[in-house]
């Protein structure tokens, strides 16, 4: 049985927090560049140019891409033959978040209680989704989530009869109502099937997928992703919601078996800075 120390986990988490806040994954940058080239609306093109400049400044001067450095959301794939030593996993992750957000000059955006709203001052606790997998691996993915876009996300419990068109309409309606609040051009994660909470979780996880990961998805999901993007880009919302044809940079979809009576759909909206970073220990 392989042993992994909590110390190692804390160090990895700290690095991920800092990396994700300053460096956007290359495929995200590339899709913004393509949109800037193709945008015909003058103000929309200017905003996209500003967003690209913003990414350059973030890396060069070490200023976070966005002041909302998010709530720290983790997807951990823990091999069942791994033994974690020297403490408890959740504490190790939270310690890494506190260290990363302090030492990385990141904003502390978490309040202790949803109503009393006192800041915890170290951005903990994180949100941790743990999945047990075969083997001796330990993979940790951080997707820090800003709430301008999180607030515009939805779970819609459709009827089976609503079908493909019903899903498409629900997702596009969510994107349009998100508008400028979600800092478009948006990146959209969709979860179809499962139940109430799983469709939301799949939608969030879908934000961490690259385009080639969709090859494993059903054929209709790939078509749906393309059609949602095209329809949203005809809405005229545009970059920063100030007009133009660049409203959605990408759509990723995950699916899961569901109940005979249901068709749950989760839509997790993310801004143009779809930040995430992964590490294997």
């Amino acid at each position: 049985m392989r042993e992994i120390t909590c110390k190692k986990i804390t160090a990895a988490v700290k690095e991920l927090c800092i990396e994700a806040a300053y460096y956007l994954p290359e495929d995200m940058k590339e899709s913004l560049r393509r949109m800037e080239e193709n945008e015909e609306h003058a103000l929309g093109k200017k905003v996209l140019g500003d967003l690209l400049k913003n990414l350059e400044i973030a890396e060069k001067d070490m200023i976070p891409i966005c002041q909302d450095t998010g709530m720290a959301v983790f997807f951990i794939e823990l091999g069942q033959d791994v033994h974690i030593t020297g403490g408890d996993l959740e504490e190790a992750v939270n310690r890494g978040v506190a260290e990363g957000y302090n030492e990385g000059y990141l904003r502390k955006s978490v309040v202790k209680d949803p109503l009393e709203r006192e800041n915890t001052k170290d951005n903990t606790p994180a949100i941790i989704h743990l999945k047990m997998v075969p083997g001796e691996g330990f993979k940790i993915t951080l997707a820090p989530k800003g709430f301008g876009s999180e607030n515009m996300s939805r779970v819609i419990m459709l009827k089976p009869a609503d079908g493909y068109e019903g899903i498409k309409k629900a997702v596009v309606d969510t994107i349009i109502s998100a508008g400028a609040n979600a800092c478009p051009p948006m990146f959209v994660g969709v979860g179809i099937g499962g139940d109430f909470e799983l469709c939301a979780l799949m939608a969030k996880h879908a934000l961490t997928l690259e385009e080639q990961d969709m090859e494993h998805a059903p054929e209709y999901a790939r078509r749906l992703a393309e059609e949602i993007k095209e329809e949203a880009n005809r809405s005229g919302i545009g970059p920063a919601g100030l007009g133009g044809g660049s409203t959605v940079t990408g759509v990723r979809i995950e699916t899961y078996p569901t109940h005979i009576a249901g068709l749950p759909v989760g839509v997790n909206i993310c801004c143009h800075a779809n930040r995430h970073a992964s590490k294997e220990i």
Partner: protein, 175 residues
């Protein structure tokens, strides 16, 4: 695209000149305040208390920055969603705030209060916090220090870029 250089605080004449869709470069003094500071200001005014700083004529920026690195005046400093301030805004406009900077739509009540009090609402690019921080030349916490990132800051800005989203006649870029 019309570009205008404007000074903050804005004069009534300047506000009159601005139209929905104008691109502006703001120079002068602005104040940061977001959710928690708005709630506090609103509750103080409702109780008939004085505010810890004078809001007459000011420009407020809905923003909570990341901490500055040593040697920088501020960290990443982009706009947050303005709609969350809507509940508090009509009262604050009636007490003197003249200009707002944020992102996204406002409620009907805010638009009505803007027309009544002759105010302007400008949108900065959401998610461009690193770029926007370059237009901020000084920053000082002046109230509600205990709120951390949500404290009120007085900031000097130079050529801070924004777009007029709702003008003093109620025309809105998001419609």
């Amino acid at each position: 695209m019309k570009t205008l250089n404007i000074n903050s605080p804005l004069t009534d004449e300047q506000i009159e000149e601005l139209s929905c869709g104008d691109y502006v470069l703001i120079t002068g003094t602005i104040y940061s305040a977001r959710d928690a500071a708005h709630k506090r200001m609103y509750e103080a005014l409702e109780k008939g208390e004085e505010l810890p700083f004078d809001i007459k004529g000011i420009t407020v920026y809905y923003m909570g920055p990341t901490p500055p690195r040593p040697g920088n005046v501020i960290g990443s400093a982009g706009p947050t969603t303005s709609g969350r301030m809507d509940k508090y805004t009509p009262l604050l406009l009636s007490r003197g705030i003249k200009a707002m900077i944020g992102k996204g739509k406002r409620s009907e009540k805010v638009t009505e209060a803007m027309i009544e009090n002759h105010c302007v609402y400008m949108a900065a690019v959401g998610g461009a916090g690193a770029l926007l921080s370059k237009s901020i030349t000084s920053s000082e916490v002046i109230a509600y220090d205990d709120l951390g990132t949500e404290a009120v800051r007085r900031m000097e800005v130079k050529d801070f870029p924004a777009v007029v989203a709702i003008d003093c006649r109620g025309n809105c870029i998001y419609k």
